[in-house]
Amino acid sequence: MKTLTVSVVTPNGPVMENEAEMVVARAESGEIGIMPNHIPLVAPLSIAAVRLKQGNDEHQLAVNGGVMEVSSNKVTILAQSAEKPEEIDVQRAREAKERAEERLQSKQDNVDYLRAELALQRAMNRLDVANK
């Protein structure tokens, strides 16, 4: 079966480069699945897991936003951070989640809600990916 080359790149270096039969990501407009010979595409991603399917295997990556580019059977994901499940610091993510929840519930004026919300999303995303 035909495959796509998937590379995930962050400012701290490439996270992975892999072959996959199908890539499922959550774009800001909804979930999209990319299969080989997809037309060139650019889409911003939301904070969610990116799934790579290879036969019966499925790999997950926690990707924090960023942009996905597809051209000539290559999928490139540019994100500010991305982690494989085994790289996730569960303890830290859990703490970040609690902190963000606390902030969101504090209902004070000096809290940056947008930031807290994004932090919460990132933490939940990491926990989701790590627990699978």
Binding site: T10, N12, E28, S29, I39, L41, V42, V67, L78
Partner: protein, 286 residues
């Protein structure tokens, strides 16, 4: 001539200084290697980012985004990357000189520009000279990760989007090689020279549409440029520090050689004098 004991004391203290500088040289050398690797590891990201942005900018002529448009410049922002500590030779002064010259050339009053500083040296310099500082970050790690400077990068880019500044320049030391760092001034925003880069091979489909993507992509792009400059600057900092410490060690060696020479001379002179005293005494007895 200084006494034997004085010279001995100076030799000892110079030796101790040499020990410190040569240790710092080794530390800086290893930090430089790491920083160079970091800068290299970052290249794929920035290249990919550049390619995607250039592709979008090229693929259609009617892209419009505030970050691509040149406005009349009422206020200019400068992002200056310096180090937190000294002992780095001309590293900081080169960057700050570039900043000072640029300000002198282009501006009449402090209302026309503002500075965002990375590093304590630059911060102190600006404060002392009443250069307006909007934002600063001190104590950046030796090997920064993106999260360290995300906030300042975001808020700086935000300043441009909000119309607070109409142009953003970045001043840092470019790491040309281990022995050469070039103070560099680059215009970051508005993004201008996109159309020359990238190939026109792919016609993209945009999901949901071009404007939405540019809204996400361009800030990411600008932030990535800032981070790239920071990594470049850090590599330069360690290289500059290594060179400064190496020449300090060399100077200490020269100094020790000179002092040892005059120490031996003084010792010889003392012995000669003692002998002539003994001979003089003996001949007086005859």
């Amino acid at each position: 001539m200084a006494s034997l004991r004085d010279i001995k004391a100076r030799i000892d203290s110079t030796k101790k200084t040499k020990q410190i500088t040569s240790a710092m040289q080794l530390v800086s050398a290893s930090k430089m290697n790491k920083a160079e690797q970091n800068a290299k590891g970052y290249v794929p990201y920035s290249e990919k980012m550049q390619a995607v942005v250039a592709n979008i900018a090229n693929s259609s002529t009617d892209v419009s985004h505030p970050m691509l448009q040149t406005r009349e410049v009422k206020k200019t922002g400068y992002l200056v990357i310096t180090s937190d500590r000294g002992l780095v030779g001309g590293y900081n002064s080169n960057v700050l000189k570039t900043l000072q010259n640029t300000i002198h050339e282009r501006h009449q009053s402090p209302d026309e520009y503002t500075v965002v500083v990375v590093g304590r040296k630059g911060y102190d310099y600006c404060r002392k000279r009443n250069i307006p500082v909007t934002n600063s970050i001190l104590g950046v790690a030796d090997h920064p990760v993106f999260a360290d400077i995300k906030e300042i990068a975001q808020s700086t880019v935000q300043m441009f989007t909000d119309g607070e500044i109409d142009e953003l320049n970045i001043i840092y030391n470019h790491y040309a090689s281990a022995i050469s760092q070039v103070p560099t001034k680059k215009k970051l925003l508005p993004i201008e020279d996109l159309h020359e880069q990238g190939d026109l091979t792919a016609e993209y489909e945009y999901e949901p549409n071009q404007d939405e993507i540019l809204k996400v992509l361009l800030p990411l792009y600008a932030e990535s440029l800032i981070f790239g400059a920071l990594l470049d600057g850090k590599a330069s900092e360690h290289a500059a520090s290594m060179n400064a410490m190496r020449s300090a060690t060399d100077n200490a060696n020269d100094l020790i050689d000179d002092l040892t020479l005059s120490y031996n001379r003084a010792r010889q002179a003392q012995i000669t004098q003692q002998i002539s005293e003994i001979v003089g005494g003996a001949s007086a007895l005859e």
